[in-house]
């Protein structure tokens, strides 16, 4: 791809020297323009992936990562953009396949896609109050009312935190990431919050 033409047309774009593919950190206000430019001028005609990210230590912590594929010369490019006020412009008008990806990113991270034609949740139910893939959300979940009030009235069921200790699928040994709770790691679970 023509890196120079891209960085000259969009001067705020930084080449991040990605190890597996060409990677750019882009200004989120320009995201849709860059995706359109790459599709029309540089042949990146397929949206391979769009996902939300929570970088945890950065400010702002939320962002969007887009993988584009040039189907002619089989070249990938990765764009990542940090959100401004938890929002980025939608690219679903340029690549219609982004529609459900953006709904998922909204559902899981609370990233708002400005101009999205159908900004609803896609996996969790509509009334769910949290965005579960954010790093500050516990894997076990937080107690909220059951999705259907009439079923909850009959069964007395709520959406309750899942047990994290013990169970049949305990992983043991080896180094594991500290970002997620593990069954053998009792330092934080449904009884003791993460310190």
């Amino acid at each position: 791809m023509d890196v120079l033409a891209l960085t000259q047309k969009f001067p705020q774009t930084q080449n991040c020297a990605g190890q597996d593919m060409t990677t750019f950190a882009v200004n989120s206000a320009e995201l849709a323009d860059i995706v359109k430019y790459l599709r029309d001028e540089q042949g990146f005609d397929l949206l391979a992936d769009l996902c939300g990210m929570d970088w945890k230590d950065r400010t702002p912590n939320l962002g969007v990562v887009i993988h584009l594929l040039n189907t002619k010369n089989r070249e990938y490019v990765r764009l990542h953009a940090a959100c401004v006020d938890d929002s980025v412009p939608t690219v679903s008008a340029i690549h219609p396949g982004a529609n459900w990806h953006e709904r998922e990113a909204y559902d899981m991270f609370g990233i708002k896609f400005i101009g999205h034609p159908d900004p609803r949740r896609i996996l969790m139910w509509d009334a769910y109050p949290y965005h579960p893939l954010r790093k500050d959300f516990p894997l076990a979940g937080i107690e909220v009312p059951f999705p259907a009030a009439d079923v909850a009235a009959v069964t007395g069921q709520t959406v309750e935190p899942a047990p994290m200790m013990g169970g049949p699928f305990v992983s043991s040994g080896g180094h594991m990431s500290g970002a997620e709770p593990q069954a053998l790691d009792q330092s934080w679970n449904e009884e003791k919050p993460k310190s």
Partner: protein, 177 residues
């Protein structure tokens, strides 16, 4: 069937069968359990295998998978029940006509299985009464057949088949929509 239920000698007693109404009704019910395949995840693949010719669930009178809950007797919950789906499972259960039974097939339906997460109901028995739990992840079709035979045994031992209340609980049709 328990042999003593219908044990008679036609040469001595004539062409007459004496039995209890419960025994006859339960015998009929246990041999025509029409399942409602609540296939939610990979257990449903094993459920389909049980319906195929190798395992052949029709040997037990259960081959008539009914996708309408109004025509089904036994809901086989095969797979992971998410909280979003739990509402649907309960509504379908409520739409089934009494008498009805529920089989929790596999680890996920029984206890949430390996899905210890914010999205997964930790066992379908939180929202519907379960008659038979089948272990496995997923269970083999033989395990499903074994569970269904256990269910048949359970049906045969039920009492009060003709009452308005069923198994001690009044027939609840509040959530039918």
């Amino acid at each position: 069937m328990v042999k003593s239920d219908f044990g008679y000698n036609s040469k001595i007693e004539g062409e007459v069968i004496v039995t209890r109404a419960d025994a006859v009704v339960n015998w009929v019910r246990s041999h025509s359990v029409w399942p409602m395949p609540m296939g939610l995840a990979c257990c449903a693949i094993e459920l389909m295998a049980a319906g195929g010719s190798r395992f052949d669930i029709s040997r037990f009178g259960m081959e008539v998978m009914r996708f309408s809950p109004r025509q089904a007797d036994c809901m086989i919950v095969s797979g992971t029940v998410t909280y979003k789906m739990a509402e649907v499972v309960r509504r379908i259960y409520d739409q089934m006509a009494e008498p009805k039974w529920v089989v929790a097939m596999g680890a996920c339906a029984s206890s949430g299985g390996m899905y210890r997460s914010y999205a997964t109901l930790q066992g379908v028995d939180n929202i519907v009464p379960v008659d038979i739990y089948i272990s496995g992840c997923p269970p083999r079709p033989e395990a499903l057949l074994d569970g269904m035979m256990l269910l048949q045994e359970k049906i045969r031992q039920e009492g009060g088949s003709l009452k308005r209340t069923f198994r001690g609980r009044t027939v609840d049709t509040k959530i039918v929509s």
